[in-house]
């Protein structure tokens, strides 16, 4: 390893981003952690001070009441489970839709491939918010989807599509589809076509070739895409707010309500920490996958 920069250079290059992230990401996160153990107060800010003084010694104030509250009130437990379910189903649908698309793009001729990738990515460069908004108009009772269903005679009255689980699934799949397709495509594109030719030469039929060769080789891509969709989907706020149910909230919305409506910052923090705990395993998995991809031999 050549000495890339001299000592001050190295300190600067590594130090600046580290300091920024520590100050504006790590420390805030620690504050959330600490606040989750605090009690709520009707004050500004609406929480008890971090440090209590007992017999003249500073002691960090740790109350587990917030967490107890989360586990006892069924609203929260239900929200967590609901969020996990919605995220899981959305991820599965996204995978089912995205995999064939990525496969088709990877198999296309090079000229087509760039054009197709651009077509897939173009919506991503417009606004997330506006793309989800589009579905409001489509899924309304007098929206395009109902129009089509009525015109085709599949239903006789408009179907309630908005504010359902179905709408949330569609919203998440629609918004996160590029995140599923890209890692899948990156993986599939690297597959050596000679492997499939060898399999064909040895007598395997198309579907079997896919099952035994392509699918196993694409597992890292599947894992990456699935995690890239699942993890943010659990904490999704915009999609359920615009398209989702009003009787059952996802956990992102619960956190926001707890914070802005109830002004209960400690409980909101506890909600956040629990959410993170739920996601710790998938996050670590994704980090491991990405590290392996970045350091893999070419």
């Amino acid at each position: 390893m050549t000495p890339f920069a001299d000592r001050t250079g190295r300190r600067l290059i590594a130090g600046l981003p580290t300091i920024w992230l520590v100050a504006l990401f790590l420390i805030p996160f620690l504050i959330v952690l600490k606040l989750s153990f605090s009690e709520m107060r009707l004050a500004i800010p609406p929480y008890a001070p971090f440090i209590e003084w007992r017999h003249g010694w500073p002691v960090p104030a740790l109350h587990l009441s917030n967490y107890a509250f989360l586990f006892t009130d069924p609203l929260y437990v239900r929200s967590y489970l609901y969020s996990l379910r919605v995220a899981a189903v959305s991820t599965a649908i996204c995978l089912a839709v995205g995999y064939p698309m990525a496969y088709a793009i990877a198999r296309a001729s090079p000229a087509w491939r760039t054009a197709l990738l651009m077509l897939v990515m173009l919506p991503f460069w417009t606004s997330f918010l506006l793309r989800v908004y589009a579905w409001i108009g489509l899924l309304q009772n007098d929206g395009l989807v109902n129009h089509v269903l009525l015109a085709l005679g599949l239903v006789h009255r408009p179907v309630r599509l908005l504010q359902t689980d179905f709408a949330v699934y569609i919203g998440i799949v629609y918004a996160y589809l590029p995140f599923m397709i890209l890692p899948l495509y990156a993986n599939l594109e690297k597959h050596d076509p000679e492997l499939l030719e060898a399999a064909a030469d040895l007598g395997a039929r198309p579907f079997r070739r896919f099952l035994r060769i392509t699918l196993p080789l694409s597992l890292p891509g599947i894992a990456a895409g699935a995690l890239l969709v699942f993890i943010p989907a659990v904490g999704e706020y915009i999609v359920p707010s615009l398209l989702g149910r009003t009787d059952q909230l996802m956990i992102g919305r619960v956190l926001s309500d707890e914070f802005f409506e109830n002004r209960d910052w400690p409980v909101a923090s506890a909600v956040a920490i629990l959410m993170l705990l739920l996601l710790v395993v998938p996050i670590l998995l994704l980090q491991r996958l990405e590290r392996r991809a970045l350091e893999a031999p070419k």
């Binding site: 001299d6 420390i27 908004y133 904490g235 706020y237």
Partner: protein, 281 residues
């Protein structure tokens, strides 16, 4: 010739349709005279009245201007910080604190936005308690928040550009007498410039479009465009938002089209250059 079977190709067609029908519907109904976005008023449409409404809506115009300004600032600052971070992780080898930086950089990307937003607001509140700054949330806090999560994306993009990077180029520069700072400015930076540019664009888009984090760290006086749109559309469809969406799609399509043309031109020139070299060697 597409070597994929019929099923994948069909799914690709369906998928692309799925991706573009909503966008198309947004565009079409922005020209619809009726406020009921879903009923085509054939008698009076197409019309540009919603575009005029959009452009004369003070709240929206001000919010758009604020969003663009914040995005420009955030993208530029995030590009600098993110490039430094990406370079540090990819080229500095092991150093004290590397594990910390390596763990922090991808974190804003995977962390759910509600948590990041909450955390940042709590930081600003605690800071105000402790040292009196920042005085209330507003543009400054929004910018700081945006820079934070954007730099993570830039760092990842820059870091991955270094995979497959020819280290011998930097060594050759050093061998020829260039000190490390010169090597970085004249060799490394020009070579990763496309990745930095991509990171800048990505940051701009992410900052401009951000809603969740911004809602946490914005104050009453500073509404960004996504915030304004969100409060409008919570109540239902709104055709001037359709108009906005159409303008945006147009801008993005032009941008992508221009990039594609540029890349195609570059590629053709490169092929010609290689042929030129082979011809007279």
């Amino acid at each position: 010739m597409n070597a994929a079977g019929r099923f994948p190709r069909t799914m690709l067609a369906i998928g692309l349709a799925f991706l573009y029908v909503p966008i198309a519907s947004l565009i079409v109904y922005s020209f619809n005279n009726s406020r009921l976005v879903t009923v085509w008023d054939a008698a009076h449409s197409p019309t540009l009245k919603w575009y005029w409404a959009l452009l004369s809506d003070d709240q929206i115009v001000r919010a758009a201007w604020l969003s663009i300004r914040i995005a420009l600032l955030a993208a530029t600052a995030a590009s600098v910080l993110g490039t430094l971070g990406g370079v540090a992780l990819a080229r500095l080898g092991p150093f004290r604190g590397r594990a910390l930086l390596a763990g922090l950089v991808p974190a804003p990307i995977v962390m759910p936005e509600v948590i990041t937003g909450l955390a940042l607001l709590l930081l600003f509140v605690a800071l105000e308690e402790a040292i009196g700054w920042p005085r209330g949330v507003g543009v400054v806090t929004i910018a700081l928040a945006h820079i934070t999560f954007c730099m993570a994306y830039v760092a990842v993009v820059v870091q991955s550009r270094f995979a497959g990077f020819d280290e011998s180029l930097e060594e050759a520069a050093m061998d020829l007498g260039a000190r490390p700072a010169t090597v970085f400015m004249r060799i490394t930076l020009p070579l990763i410039a496309p990745a930095v540019a991509a990171g800048w664009l990505l940051s701009f888009t992410l900052s401009w479009d951000d809603l969740v984090i911004t809602q946490f760290v914005a104050g009453p006086g500073s509404s960004t465009l996504p915030m304004v749109i969100f409060s409008k559309v919570r109540l239902g469809v709104s055709p001037d938002v359709n108009a906005l969406a159409t303008l945006l799609v147009l801008a993005v399509a032009i941008g992508i089209g221009a990039t594609a043309v540029l890349l195609r031109y570059r590629e053709r020139r490169r092929v010609r250059d290689v042929q030129l070299a082979a011809a007279d060697s």
